[in-house]
């Protein structure tokens, strides 16, 4: 009986099956450097052996960290001695309904940067924001190794990632905490024993 009445609501629902955008918060806009849809040029220098906390990594490429308005696309071009090495377009990913800005990372392979005499051109189709917010504010803060990237285009480095090494790293990280692992295993064994016990009781 109730289902028949509620059935009327079905049409009501169909009429309203439209996702509606939420309001976004703009009070933090003033805390960005704003580049009004203009072309940016940055000289790039690269050391192919990256020293991080005493450990030397072979560089695989470069990441450019930027803060963008949602759905901003960026055309980028890399030149060496006036010749274009690479020219492409970065299509921004959606940042979600409650975020007006997003931190994006544009990645390049190291082949592009074999020489240091190169120029990077960026041309966003909307305003480009680069964060320089107050120290106490974390919204959309871009940090690298805990250091805020403020007011400049930051060039980070992609370390060479190999699946085998990565699995080994994850494994060693998981196994590092011996006491917790023993505790965790005991919990799991106890639960499995419980499941077996109740399965047997359940089957009687």
């Amino acid at each position: 009986m109730l289902d028949k009445k509620i059935f009327l609501l079905f049409f009501f629902f169909l009429l309203n099956c439209i996702p509606i955008k939420h309001p976004i918060f703009s009070e933090r806009e003033k805390e960005y450097f704003v580049y009004k849809n203009s072309e940016l040029i940055q000289d790039v220098e690269l050391d192919l052996n990256l020293n991080l906390k005493g450990k030397v990594h072979k560089v695989k490429g470069i990441i450019i960290v930027l803060t963008l308005k949602e759905n901003t696309n960026i055309a980028y071009k890399i030149e060496k001695g006036g010749n274009t090495l690479i020219e492409s377009l970065y299509l921004a990913e959606p940042a979600g309904f409650s975020r007006k800005y997003q931190a994006v990372k544009i990645m390049f392979k190291k082949d592009v940067f074999l020489d240091s005499d190169i120029k990077l051109f960026l041309k966003p189709d909307k305003d480009l924001f680069i964060w320089y917010g107050g120290e106490a504010d974390v919204k959309n803060r871009v940090t690298v190794d805990g250091v805020p990237v403020e007011g400049k285009i930051y060039l980070d480095f992609i370390k060479s990632i190999q699946a085998k090494d990565k699995l080994r790293e994850i494994y060693s990280k998981i196994t590092e905490n011996f006491k917790f692992n023993i505790f965790y295993l005991i919990i799991i064994i106890l639960i499995i024993s419980g499941i077996r016990f109740f399965s047997k009781q359940n089957g009687k």
């Binding site: 609501l9 439209i18 939420h22 940042a95 106490a136 990565k166």
Partner: protein, 411 residues
């Protein structure tokens, strides 16, 4: 009321314990290894309770312009007590003690102690979810066989609670507790639990009018019951009202979600009106009405919004109840559509959950970025959202096996 939980010793109860343990095992297997960085912010504010900070809004928001914590005070105290209880088992607690250095949160995430910390910080979610499993069993006993299985094997809970690490399961558990007590006709406690749920996050209050309409008692008693639900919230909020950050972060921030949703507000009023007509002009079982309209309200919110991945847990327990033989295939389709839809948040809802395992994995291109090379991912995500919307409606029409119990009117 409680005796059946402890004394009953039959096939059914062993069946229940078995599936509860299977559910707990699956949750424990994912708890330590995945988390969204939001779990840091969710606990960073409440961790200050250990430093005897009673008003986090004035301490952080007004005093330091830090707006990490945007939830009602009860959430602060519950998560703060949870943090305090498990503090001895957490790694690198200096990070929380000295939040001025909060930009180093990634160092906290990549420390090998993170697995232990995630396990203990998420234990409260496990208790809440297990409570939901028990409550669903005892509330919908006519359908216990399927309900408890869907609870145990729910990918929605595994992802949105135990991988993503959001706390929405806590107020969701209070809603299910309120539904359980409604069925047991303990209406005062029912409304108290609903109010406590609303004191943690505001969404349980959306269902308050449905509870009030469905409760079989006179107008005067309904006023008392609504007071039982709302007054604790007002009472606990009073000490914080002079804090500007409390008003902005808790009220204005959360009301911002609703104010632009004219469709939702119009539909909400219409649903309440239909609930009123159904309850008072047709002889419908009040409990059946409560389940259907509570589900309707919460799912309608999801339909009208681009909901965050964790919001699905608001209605997931009711979906377990609504699945049956005839609509099981739609449930699987719903799961697929949900996991497509969450890609709307790019890496934020996918690879970033791998941060505790290895932070470099979060740099992998999002699934959207891969898909967009050969298809229109926006269209795919929009289609997934439409499928979710339609299936939420389809579940509404599922028949629930309920032996009719609540019709009489109380004084």
């Amino acid at each position: 009321m409680w005796s059946s939980i402890f004394i009953e010793n039959s096939y059914e109860i062993f069946f229940l314990y078995k599936w509860i343990l299977i559910g707990v095992l699956l949750r424990i297997l994912v708890m330590p290894f995945f988390a969204h960085p939001d779990i840091v912010w969710i606990n960073a504010g409440p961790s200050q309770l250990s430093n005897r900070i009673w008003n986090i809004y004035s301490h952080h928001g007004d005093g330091q312009n830090i707006h990490l914590f945007k939830y009602p005070p009860l959430t602060y105290f519950i998560l703060g007590i949870n943090y305090f209880a498990f503090k001895p088992f957490l790694h690198n607690i200096e990070y929380f003690d000295n939040l001025k250095d909060f930009n180093t949160f990634n160092d906290w995430m990549i420390n090998p102690g993170i697995f232990q910390s995630l396990f203990f910080l998420k234990l409260i979610f496990l208790f809440a979810d297990a409570a939901i499993g028990f409550l669903l069993y005892f509330t919908f006993k006519e359908n216990y066989n399927t309900t408890i299985k869907y609870w145990a094997l729910s990918p929605l809970a595994l992802y949105s609670v135990f991988m993503y690490g959001q706390f929405d399961i806590l107020p969701a558990a209070f809603i299910i507790g309120a539904i359980f007590l409604f069925r047991k006709e303990r209406f005062e406690y029912c409304f108290l639990l609903l109010g406590i749920g609303g004191m943690m996050k505001h969404f349980p209050f959306l269902t308050l009018p449905v509870f009030l309409l469905c409760v079989p008692c006179g107008f005067g008693k309904k006023i008392v019951l609504s007071a039982i639900s709302i007054f604790p919230y007002i009472f606990l909020s009073l000490p914080f009202l002079n804090s500007r950050s409390f008003i902005e972060d808790v009220f204005i921030n959360s009301s911002g979600y609703l104010t632009s949703m004219r469709y939702f507000l119009a539909g909400y009023i219409a649903i309440i009106f239909i609930n009123f007509i159904t309850t008072f002009f047709f002889k419908v079982d009040r409990f059946y009405c409560l389940i259907k309209f509570s589900y309707l309200i919460l799912s309608y919110y999801l339909i009208c919004s681009e909901f965050h991945p964790q919001f699905i847990i608001w209605i997931a327990p009711l979906i377990y109840v609504l699945i049956n033989e005839s609509n099981r295939k739609y449930y699987y389709l719903f799961i697929i559509a949900y996991f497509i839809y969450i890609n709307n948040w790019g890496r934020n809802s996918t690879w970033i959950l791998l941060n505790p395992l290895d932070s470099e994995l979060t740099l992998m291109p999002s699934i959207n970025a891969v898909i967009e090379k050969f298809a229109n991912y926006e269209l795919i995500i929009k289609s997934a959202k439409y499928i979710i919307n339609i299936l939420l409606v389809v579940f509404l029409f599922s028949k629930i096996k309920i032996s009719k119990t609540i019709k009489k009117k109380y004084a």
